[in-house]
Amino acid sequence: MADLLKGRNAVVTGAGRGIGRGIAIALAAEGAKVVVNDPGVAADGSGFDKSPADEVVEAIRSQGGIAIPNYDSVVTVEGGENIIKSCVDNFGRIDILVNNAGILRDRMIFNMAEEEWDAVIAVHLKGHFACTKPAAVLMRQQRYGRIVNFSSISGLRGNTGQANYGAAKAGVAGFTRVVARDLGRNGVTCNAIAPAAITRMTATVPEAAAAIRAQSGVAQPRLATAGPVERTPEHIAPMVVYLCTDHAWNINGQIFHVGGGTISLAAAEMPIHSITKSGKWTLEELAQVVPTELVYDIANPAPPPADLDLPGRPAKPKE
């Protein structure tokens, strides 16, 4: 047992399995007391099971750590309040909130049902809000806190078949940047991780999005399985633990990509190229200038097939 987080109390949502489990165990190993939250749902959000959270609590205790389970869903404001309250009731205060809980319902945009959209937005976005709001009230009062959110490459770069998940996870990045600014002056930091790891959530991808991608001929590099580099869920934990230590007091509002032994700071969404004129552009002017001055080195991530009749595309010379 190390003691970088001795005396700190943490909540990890979705900590019954995968990445969240690795984080809960790593926080406890550094001396934090941990609320292991997980309602034990399937990857699509269905069902309920206490055993994943219980099993992680047991694992932490068997290594000499301190943990308690919580089974509330993050989807409601009431659930979020209960989760934070269970930390305060059991350990006296909350220092760390890790918003890791998430589900998947992959579908191409033209087939996506309202229920698939709503369920994913609810768990990821409302879930982040429902837990962060009550934590923020307490952290602001005590002038100390760490919030670590979970985003995804799906939203930051774009993955086919995940309009709901991509919107939610890019939304988490924006949420992180705003919360960092709302709370920074109170000694609280808020950052986000975009993880790449092999978990049961990526295991569902071959059945859904990956199959669609292959069928449509828009297969993309799979970060989670690319190359010989090992990417276990446990590999995400060290960076999360680091962001929760006192050493990271001045890192705030940032997005980090973490996979295997690779940790990257995400680029800020700032201008790469720009064009300016005094006054309002005309469409004719933009048609001249945009291709040559603005997007000349920006690749089309999903180009239309060559056999599609496409107005505006220069005709290929006949063979």
Binding site: F110, W117, I121, L125, T132, K133, S154, G155, L156, R157, G158, N159, G161, G166, A167, A168, K169, G171, V172, A173, F175, R177, V178, A180, D182, L183, G184, V218, H235, P238, M239, V241, Y242, T245, W249, N252, G261, T262, I263, L265, A268, E269, M270, P271, I272, S274, I275, T276, K277, G279, K280, W281, L286, A287, L294, P301, A302, P304, P311, R313
Partner: protein
């Protein structure tokens, strides 16, 4: 002849502000326009047919073609009805422009569930509700343009807008995915990040970042200046631009970086916390804390400053 001659374009939230400018320019360029606006207040309350009707009237008075629609984008039925109006009135749909939006600003520690839900509903569900209905048609006809609206509130972070920032960052992520879902069907999907003086910015203080960007102020950015780049993305000329996010204000258009890995540290195997304590500050060198803690609060880990050390 205009650059959008014969195109059928839906512009949500086009009764006022940026949406109005887009609808009017599209019509000037020859498009048949569905002017959608529920006529709500900035906070989403109320409803009023007048704003949409007035824009339709303005377009017609200049010889353009437009019809009004007053549905809310925040439900699937509303989104479907908006798209159906284009089909019923003009026979097809070429372009959907998702401008509609509301604001309910509040610091995260004071934000109510209602304030969160309403903003997420209009911006995110609104983008989905209209886009889903449009995507079905555009995929079938192997042609289409979808233009979403994001905000620097999410991309850069504005205090007091956790709901709006999450929603607007979400539309950028939504754009990147939808572009990939539909690219092979001849459909493009891009995103505009506008900065303009409208009734939505009326309550905001003029921050230093706004001054910094142009050296003047937001007054130099009329809402109608957002329209040309938005309409350009709807033209046939923009057939090969998709999945991108463009910042537009005044006479400036910029293409934005995606939040992809920029600086990297790597080791074979799993990092130890001690190693990260040494390496992460090197990776973060020169990256400023956007909201640093004030000098007078006790921040564990912060080196004692000169001010605190002085007697």
């Amino acid at each position: 002849m205009g650059m959008l001659e014969g195109k059928v374009i839906v512009v949500t939230g086009s009764g006022r502000g940026i949406g109005r400018g887009v609808a009017e320019l599209a019509a000037e360029e020859g498009a048949k326009v569905v002017v959608n606006d529920a006529g709500v207040a900035v906070d989403g309350s109320g409803s009023d047919r007048a704003p949409a009707d007035e824009v339709v009237e303005a377009i017609r008075s200049r010889g353009g073609t437009a019809v009004a629609n007053h549905d809310s984008v925040a439900s699937m039925a509303g989104g479907e009805s908006i798209i159906q109006t284009a089909l019923d009135s003009f026979g097809r749909l070429d372009c959907l422009i998702n401008v509609a939006g509301i604001l309910r600003d509040r610091m995260i520690f004071n934000m109510t569930e209602q304030e969160w839900d309403d903003v997420i509903a209009v911006h995110l569900k609104g983008h989905f509700a209209c886009t889903k209905a449009a995507a079905v048609l555009m995929r079938q006809q192997r042609y289409g343009r979808i233009i979403n609206f994001s905000s620097i509130s999410g991309l850069w972070g504005n205090a007091g807008q956790a709901n709006y920032g999450a929603a607007k960052s979400g539309t950028a992520g939504f754009t990147r995915v939808v572009a990939r879902d539909l690219g092979r069907y001849g459909v493009t999907c891009n995103c505009i990040v506008p900065r303009a003086l409208t009734r939505m910015t009326g309550d905001l203080p003029k921050g230093p970042s706004q001054e910094r960007v142009v050296g003047r102020g937001i007054e130099a950015w009329p809402p109608d200046h957002v329209a040309p780049m938005t309409c350009y993305l709807a033209t046939d000329q923009a057939w090969n631009i998709t999945g991108q996010v463009f910042l537009v204000y005044g006479g400036t258009v910029a293409v934005l970086a995606h939040p992809l890995p920029q600086r990297t540290i790597f080791k074979q195997g799993m990092w130890a916390t001690d190693e990260l304590i040494e390496m992460v500050p090197q990776m973060m060198e020169g990256i400023a804390n956007p909201a640093p803690p004030p000098e007078d609060i006790d921040v564990p880990g912060r080196p004692k400053s000169q001010a605190q050390a002085a007697p």
